[in-house]
């Protein structure tokens, strides 16, 4: 848990973890629960200079999240870190 104050009513604290590091750089950003996840994903990519997120997944733990949904619709509350990055790929045994 961070030392950040608790969020205002109808808000939550969000951090986006990317391959270029976290956004915000420290702690969390307070966002409204009805905001769509894609807003923070785009904001993080822009801030960190990530130009191409094609095919990237947003995950909370092992759960893949739909960026077009709000935090409320996704059932996310409190203080959360979201992994945003390229998924595993590959061909395997041949």
């Amino acid at each position: 848990m961070s030392n950040q104050p608790k969020p205002k009513p109808n808000h939550l604290l969000v951090a986006i973890i990317t391959t270029s590091g976290p956004f915000p750089e420290k702690d969390f950003e307070e966002v409204p629960i009805n905001q769509h996840l894609e807003v923070m994903l785009k904001k993080a990519a822009k801030a960190l200079g990530i130009t191409d997120t094609t095919g990237w997944l947003a995950k909370h733990g092992l759960t893949v999240l739909d960026p077009s949904k709000s935090y409320q619709d996704l059932g996310l509350t409190g203080e959360i870190s979201i992994d945003f990055g390229p998924p595993a790929s590959g061909g395997g045994n041949e």
Binding site: S20, T51, G91
Partner: protein, 145 residues
């Protein structure tokens, strides 16, 4: 790639790698040009040590060796059973390998030699932390054996 330029590009990506390691609980054994050496750990999951060697970054992708946490070679039959972990002997190294773009072993494998690294190297997913993230994601979703 000029060694000084390769080293500069390599080291510029290490702050992000250390940041991810701290957040994700990766144990960093080394992260200095030309080597990245980390162990992934998670509850109820067999740890995996990933050794990346990238002396010519980013003209060529890193060579990736899969190890036990002790640093010994990983037994092929104990590797995760997920698509990117190829348990067979690579045609150049003779070892199991990461069969996914971004690994030198993928791009030099007889099955994928036509899929050039130049198709990927400019993409944001194919930084050193990005390649490591892809392997971590593959390790995380592999069935527990």
């Amino acid at each position: 790639m000029n060694e000084i330029a390769a080293k500069a590009l390599f080291m510029a990506q290490m702050p992000a790698l250390f940041s991810l390691a701290k957040i994700r609980g990766w144990e960093v054994h080394g992260a200095a040009y030309p080597t990245v050496d980390v162990t992934f750990t998670a509850a109820e999951r067999r740890p995996l040590r990933v050794h990346m060697h990238a002396p010519d970054w980013d003209d060529t992708p890193p060579g990736i060796t899969l190890l036990l946490p002790s640093g010994e070679p990983h037994p092929p039959d104990k590797l995760p059973t997920q698509g990117m972990f190829n348990h067979s002997a690579h045609n150049v190294t003779g070892k199991p390998f990461i069969c996914s773009p971004g690994s030198q072993e993928y791009h030099t494998h007889t099955s994928h030699a036509a899929d050039l690294w130049s198709n990927y190297r400019e993409k944001s997913a194919f930084t050193l932390p990005g390649i490591l993230t892809q392997i971590w994601n593959g390790w995380l979703i592999a069935p527990i054996t």
